[in-house]
Symmetry: none
Subunit: 208 residues, 4 copies
Amino acid sequence: MPKDTFFNLSIEKRQRIIDMAIDEFAKYSYDKVSISKIVDKAEIAKGSFYQYFEDKKDLYKYLLLNVIVEKKVNYLSHFTLKMQEESFFEVLKALYIAGINFAKDNPKLAEISDHFTKNTDDNLKKEIYDGSIPKSNALLEGLLLKGIAKGDLNPDIDIKLTAYILTSLTISIGEYFIKELKVEDDMEIMTLIDNMLLIFEKGIKNKG
Amino acid sequence: MPKDTFFNLSIEKRQRIIDMAIDEFAKYSYDKVSISKIVDKAEIAKGSFYQYFEDKKDLYKYLLLNVIVEKKVNYLSHFTLKMQEESFFEVLKALYIAGINFAKDNPKLAEISDHFTKNTDDNLKKEIYDGSIPKSNALLEGLLLKGIAKGDLNPDIDIKLTAYILTSLTISIGEYFIKELKVEDDMEIMTLIDNMLLIFEKGIKNKG
Amino acid sequence: MPKDTFFNLSIEKRQRIIDMAIDEFAKYSYDKVSISKIVDKAEIAKGSFYQYFEDKKDLYKYLLLNVIVEKKVNYLSHFTLKMQEESFFEVLKALYIAGINFAKDNPKLAEISDHFTKNTDDNLKKEIYDGSIPKSNALLEGLLLKGIAKGDLNPDIDIKLTAYILTSLTISIGEYFIKELKVEDDMEIMTLIDNMLLIFEKGIKNKG
Amino acid sequence: MPKDTFFNLSIEKRQRIIDMAIDEFAKYSYDKVSISKIVDKAEIAKGSFYQYFEDKKDLYKYLLLNVIVEKKVNYLSHFTLKMQEESFFEVLKALYIAGINFAKDNPKLAEISDHFTKNTDDNLKKEIYDGSIPKSNALLEGLLLKGIAKGDLNPDIDIKLTAYILTSLTISIGEYFIKELKVEDDMEIMTLIDNMLLIFEKGIKNKG
DNA sequence: TATGAATGAGATTTCATTCAT
DNA sequence: AATGAATGAAATCTCATTCAT
């Protein structure tokens, strides 16, 4: 967590620092991000940075666990709404839509998340997430179980594996979206997600 | 490509260098791999390294595009055999089996591939692969087209997206294999792949 | 010397600052003492510190030359009393007892003195004491001269050297006391001092 | 220990580096010594330093435990010779003479030793000496025991305390020598030591 | 008088690459 | 062809002190 000094700064300055940090962490992976570059671009003294943040990791954690999460919350409102009532595939769709809309509106933040997911330093990962990745699979496993209970899904599927596949698709669908399509049109996103989910739907839904 | 000097070395020395490089690139991501460590472990002078290779990238490229690819070829023989005659799903299965067997028999090389796939420096990626990832998708897109032509697949599927999904699954299935299962038994691997493909099969095969 | 602003503070605040400063200077040597830590622990603003003291050195000087000296005065009352009448060795003994009792009752202050004595930055030393160490020797040289005059001491001894030795012993006896003995019992301290002085007594007293 | 690369350097270069390091460590305490300054004065690249030494501590250890010790050995030859046969006071005298002559001929090295002895960071001290300071007292305690056995010394003296005193005097006599006398004349040194030892001799020798 | 954000020089350390021998 | 010493830019981080409010 940033120090109090950081939160006592003017909003403009705080935002400038965060923005420049986002710029760099979106462009480079953790190791390659340079604090010197960030302070240069944010036009603050190097010493000031260390008055605001414990160290590089502190800033990184803050971006990942606060700035990004905060932004993401809005996008997940539909998902959480649907979560209660709808069929498994509707909920899953809401989840993907949330993810993609977030990436569309906040490409840099999505890029940072992407860098983090792909980061290979497991120690750093563990220290920052401390179990949140398994949690992400737990979320999907829970959804799958509910889906089976509701009768939406074929009870014979391998839950763990299916969850793994769905998680991995979150990433690939995001990449596909970023690299192949540069869609402005929301309809296309919907179509994309529909197509992807259709494949699964047939594969894992209950025939009954 | 390594310089001629490298290929003029005795096989033993060449192998020693390659082995130590594989060790390091399997352990660390590109940035964190230390040339100093490699030359130490291979017991060659640092200057010599730069007489064999242009630079760090040169070695990395060589490992990825030559050493690894060369090893992989054997594993793909079944796949290429089946490619001619069998149904789409048989071919796909052969492709996955090849990939998993390769990872099982050459864990370090698989690790290097993994590191590369997850590497976040797009410039490096582009410079090394320079279109090979699209090519990898092109392979799958080709398979899909053939599958449609043969009547195996539903002609309405989004080919590009489906190819993307299948590629992404290569990665996730590999990870799942490495982290969740520590299978000695080939049967389990087969079951794993069967389960995964079943989901797709239902999703994309031709109902007719 | 601290600025007037410091002395205008409430006694409580002043004491809090001094106490925290003592804590830090007892724990660390001059260079390693952190003003930031002191102001944090004393709960004053960093800017305030520089309105009370010129700089770090100013605080340090104040502790050494005022706070500590002030405390020491009581302990030297016996010494000064005896100074008039008693034999050289009685006076010397009183001096050592004063020193050790001071260290026993004010371990942090003693630690600060210790750090200072051992500090290696001669410039700082000179600037702070500015002749006080020679003065400390002058005290002993005076005692020795008096002792000779009284007939207590052998007039042939090298006064300067003997004074130097006695000064150095103040330090070593203090360390020995702190590190080897953890005496609660005053008797043991007396015995320790007696033993040490006995060695000298035989060495420098007048045989006549 | 310095790395091999250091010992492979030309004698001139090696000496230049050592000399500049000695200069700095004689002037400043460990913490204040700047590697940057040393490399500047030795006219080597900063990176080179780290090819020769692990880090700052490595260089410091090398100076203390190798460079200085090596130089000191010669000075102790008389001492070790006398150690076998002579009376306690002769041996002690030889020890002091060795110490003082060393300091006279190698004032900077003596200064470094002095800085180290007075250094307050016990962790560093422990790491470097790892028990050598108690050993120094053990040496004197051994001498004292031998002296008692031979009948040179009063068996009633407190051995530990006496050893402590003698150790402390090694330091103070060195300082006295450096600061008060700037003797060229060896005779004066002898007189100085004789005077000091006389005091002790009377104090602790066997009356019988 | 009180505050605490701002400063910036300077510290140690790393490492791919070059180059003289 | 082989060697390994030399390089130096760039990295993170520290901290006493200043200064605007």
